[in-house]
């Protein structure tokens, strides 16, 4: 790939999705866009880029953006954000919402569904609905392709062996051929829809927890700040924001502050100190 081609595709992705592609990520272009080129019967990336340059083909454009913005996803990825949910956030929220018995969770980069389903499995094991709680989990992603997979809830043997304890597999999945399908009660606990984080958030209610992990890394500083500040408006005053292990709000916005002693967990600045005391 020539430097001019790289510059074009980097600029193109930035404009379409906000994705910032640094030169060290060039390998991602090869590994992710070669299959896209093949799908549209194009011989190589040069031909694919030429197609994008000539414009007019929305399907190709969409496929390129989706291929480049899709994350690898595991069940219970990084473990800690789920342990923190179970041990800290959930008990605190159940206490605070004991009256209305309603919780709303948003997974803002739901990808192929592993994160929202991991939360749904925790909630199922806690038997919240049996105790009269209504818990809504909303999963959004830029890519309709990954959301179709999430909705389908069908995972390869390889995917169900990364991060998912065997007891969870037995309890919450059914074998289908050589693959594993998440059971309907878990599947139905999550509602999916397509959303671009760069665009105004529409049709959302107030959330108690927002998971926004490993997606901000793709955006530049002003976009990160803008997304976080719009998320703050959708978060309950005593709600939690969960970021990826390599991400932070520090230096980006004062809308959130870290919850002390809980790595990767943030609260609205006004509430952060009282939530610390509640741990």
């Amino acid at each position: 790939m020539t430097p001019a081609e790289f510059d074009f595709i980097a600029q193109y992705l930035k404009q379409k999705s906000g994705l910032v592609l640094t030169p060290d990520k060039q390998y991602l272009l090869d590994s992710r866009l070669t299959p896209v080129a093949r799908r549209f019967n194009l011989p190589d990336l040069t031909a694919l880029i030429l197609k994008l340059r000539s414009g007019g083909d929305e399907t190709v454009s969409k496929a390129v953006v989706e291929a480049m913005t899709t994350n690898e996803s595991f069940f219970f990825r990084d473990k800690t954000p789920f342990e923190q949910f179970e041990r800290m956030m959930l008990p605190a929220l159940m206490k605070a919402r004991a009256g209305q018995k309603r919780l709303r969770i948003w997974c803002a980069a739901a990808s192929t569904g592993q994160e929202p389903y991991s939360l749904a499995m925790i909630l199922k094991d806690k038997a919240l609905s049996a105790q009269g709680w209504a818990v809504e989990i909303v999963g959004t992603d830029l890519s309709t392709e990954v959301l179709a997979r999430a909705t389908d809830g069908l995972y390869s043997q390889f995917e169900v062996q990364r991060g998912l304890p065997i007891q969870m597999l037995v309890k919450h999945f059914e074998k289908e051929g050589e693959q594993w399908r998440i059971k309907p009660d878990i599947r139905n606990a999550v509602k999916y829809r397509q959303a671009n984080l760069l665009e105004p958030f529409r049709g959302h209610l107030t959330y108690d927890v927002i998971y926004c992990r490993n997606v901000l890394i793709y955006f530049d500083q002003p976009a990160k700040k803008d997304i976080l500040e719009r998320m703050a408006k959708l978060l309950a005053h005593d709600g939690y924001l969960v970021l990826g292990a390599a991400e932070t709000v520090i230096g980006l916005t004062t809308a959130f502050a870290p919850v002390e002693g809980a790595r990767g967990i943030y609260a609205k600045t006004a509430a952060a100190s009282s939530l610390q005391a509640a741990i």
């Binding site: 595991f74 473990k79 043997q157 062996q161 990364r162 065997i166 037995v170 074998k175």
Partner: protein, 124 residues
């Protein structure tokens, strides 16, 4: 250094698993079937056992039942046992858990899966 016994009748599988687990800083022992694995455990009880299902003489499930039942001494409850087999249906998985397996790996596996499962069971 933690000590892991690899029980599999395939020399290739033992070699692959050994290489991955040595990288994860385990001290490795090997056995070709369940009967030899029981002998091994009587000599020195490992911290972890990576266990194939289908093997001659004594299969993985028979070995596990014997181990947990005290057939290799009173320490038989201690090792973390991870099945590692091509058997990948719910009946086999359930039987393994009921016999006292801590985790279950469906072959084929790679470093990422072994690492995830060993982490899952607190070995890493």
């Amino acid at each position: 250094m933690k000590h892991c016994l690899i029980v599999d009748d395939s020399r290739v599988i033992r070699k692959v698993a050994r290489r991955i687990l040595e990288e994860l800083a385990f001290e490795i022992g090997e056995a070709e079937d369940g009967a030899l694995a029981l002998d091994y455990c009587r000599q020195q009880m490992p911290d972890a056992i990576l266990l194939d299902w289908n093997m001659p003489n004594m299969n993985g499930l028979e070995f596990l039942r014997a181990l947990r039942g005290g057939g290799a001494g009173s320490e038989g409850e201690r090792p973390v046992v991870l099945f590692c087999t091509t058997e990948n249906d719910l009946d086999h998985i359930t039987a393994a858990i009921e016999a006292g397996a801590n985790e279950y790996i469906m072959k084929p596996f790679d470093k990422e899966i072994l690492e995830a499962k060993f982490t899952e069971t607190g070995l890493l």
